[in-house]
């Protein structure tokens, strides 16, 4: 057999568009997923039992069900149930925002819980409310400890977005399938996109290692 990269290189613009879409889905899912995760974490830690239980259920449900099943559910089942139209793009954003928020919620929770109880008491003693304490004292410290776990999760999210190709959203994986079918060059196409994904994710992982080392040096503990 002979390697022939010409058809793949000729379709580089299509792959690039796919890469942009991959990054777009990842970015938007992060944008919605992180605040949602914070909301879920605060609900889970809330003193209201019902709120806490509902949040715990949502978190555990989205953590224990496979993302591909969630994606299919939001694409095939959700539109019928609620009579709304779901494009592959909106499905991807909705699914990955909620899915990653469940994981972010657990990172937020362990970050918040890692802060010494005395800080809550101290803030209360100087007359701060629960919300004020959370915003001014607890979260600024907790967030710093969460950064490594947060970056790791974002990288996982980037990898998980490949699943959107199964509902025909034009991400990098989908474009590769498309090119492979048109050019009859699956070996070269899939090898090239494996390399692209590798380089992209490798750079992000190395970056997160550097950040983690810096944080460790600055004497901050981290949570996972």
């Amino acid at each position: 057999m002979e390697w022939n990269f010409a058809p793949v290189l000729g379709s580089m613009d299509i792959l690039l568009l796919g890469l942009l879409n991959t990054l777009k889905v990842t970015g938007l899912a992060l944008l919605f997923g992180v605040p949602l995760g914070l909301g879920l974490a605060l609900s889970r830690l809330s003193q209201m039992r019902i709120l806490s239980m509902v949040a715990a259920f949502i978190i555990e449900f989205f953590r224990t069900t496979p993302p591909l099943v969630q994606l299919f559910w939001f694409f095939f089942a959700f539109p019928i149930l609620f009579g709304v139209n779901m494009t592959p793009f909106t499905t991807a954003i909705v699914t990955f925002s909620i899915q990653s928020s469940a994981f972010f919620a657990e990172i937020f929770r362990s970050g918040i819980q890692s802060i010494d109880k005395g800080q809550w008491e101290g803030s209360k003693a100087i007359g701060m409310t629960r919300n004020q304490t959370l915003r001014r004292v607890i979260l600024p410290q907790a967030v710093k400890r969460m950064i490594p776990a947060f970056m790791e999760r974002s990288i996982e999210l980037l990898k998980t977005t490949t699943l959107v190709s199964t509902i025909a959203y034009t991400d990098l994986m989908y474009q590769a399938n498309d090119i492979a079918q048109r050019t009859f060059r699956p070996l070269e196409v899939y090898t090239v996109i494996a390399v692209i994904y590798f380089l992209l994710i490798f750079v992000f992982s190395q970056l997160s290692i550097v950040v983690e080392r810096r944080l460790a040096k600055s004497g901050e503990g981290t949570v996972h």
Binding site: E60, F61, T65, L68, F76, A77, I80, L163, P186, Y190
Partner: protein, 222 residues
């Protein structure tokens, strides 16, 4: 929401689901065993000071951890046969993709566990005349494995969820069968909800168990 629920066809088709569930369990069993035992070997290689062992192990870990599993499965299904002339069945392609990914992730878990054991233990092993392999097997690994148990269980949960990716190359597992039922009976809501519930019911107790294990281990370490 005036939707006519149709759970009846799901129950009529329980055999189809059952076949799928067997496929899921088989995929999980094979990939978990291959991934976690292979990962132990690579994790130890990565720990060793011999560059000829450590470097290939490091390259292996970086490659299979940083390429998404779906890309690996598709690559083994469509590209690997052209390269080697060996036909890969959907089962084999999925097993290769998921196992290699699991090996890479669990190798890092084992390595972290081995590194967490105090240096003094190695010195003590050496002082009473044990070789590297003996110290590793008799002293270091028992301690390290206990410490990494929660991380390994979490990996196992991920592996179980990953088995659904095999449906992309038409391997017969739960999600694939749900798709079949949904297409035949026009009831995607019920069949996909059923899959989600199945996974939740199987994994929820496992997740709760990991919390218990974690608490027990952290207590016994003090």
């Amino acid at each position: 929401m005036d939707y006519n629920w149709d759970f009846a066809t799901l129950f009529q088709n329980w055999r189809v689901f059952w076949i799928g569930l067997q496929g899921t369990l088989l995929m999980f069993g094979v990939t978990a065993v291959l991934g976690m035992s292979g990962g132990l070997v690579i994790g130890i290689m990565r720990y060793m000071k011999t560059p000829i062992l450590a470097w290939p192990a490091r390259a292996f870990v970086e490659i299979f951890r940083n390429v998404p599993v779906l890309v690996q499965i598709i690559w083994f299904y469509y590209a690997f046969p052209i390269l080697t002339g060996v036909e890969t069945s959907p089962f084999l392609a999925a097993v290769l993709g998921i196992s290699l990914n699991t090996m890479a992730f669990s190798a890092e878990i084992y390595r972290a566990g081995i590194q967490s054991v105090e240096k003094g233990q190695w010195e003590a092993g050496k002082a009473i005349g044990m070789s590297f392999a003996q110290t590793m097997r008799r002293i270091i690994l028992p301690v390290a494995l206990k410490r990494v148990l929660p991380a390994l269980t979490n990996r196992g949960i991920e592996v179980f969820k990953m088995s659904t990716l095999a449906s992309v190359v038409a391997y017969v597992e739960t999600l694939n069968q749900a798709k079949l039922i949904a297409d035949l009976n026009y009831n995607p809501i019920e069949s996909y909800t059923a899959v989600a519930v199945i996974f939740f019911v199987v994994l929820y107790p496992v997740v709760q168990a990991t919390y218990v294990i974690e608490r027990k281990l952290s207590r016994s370490d003090q």
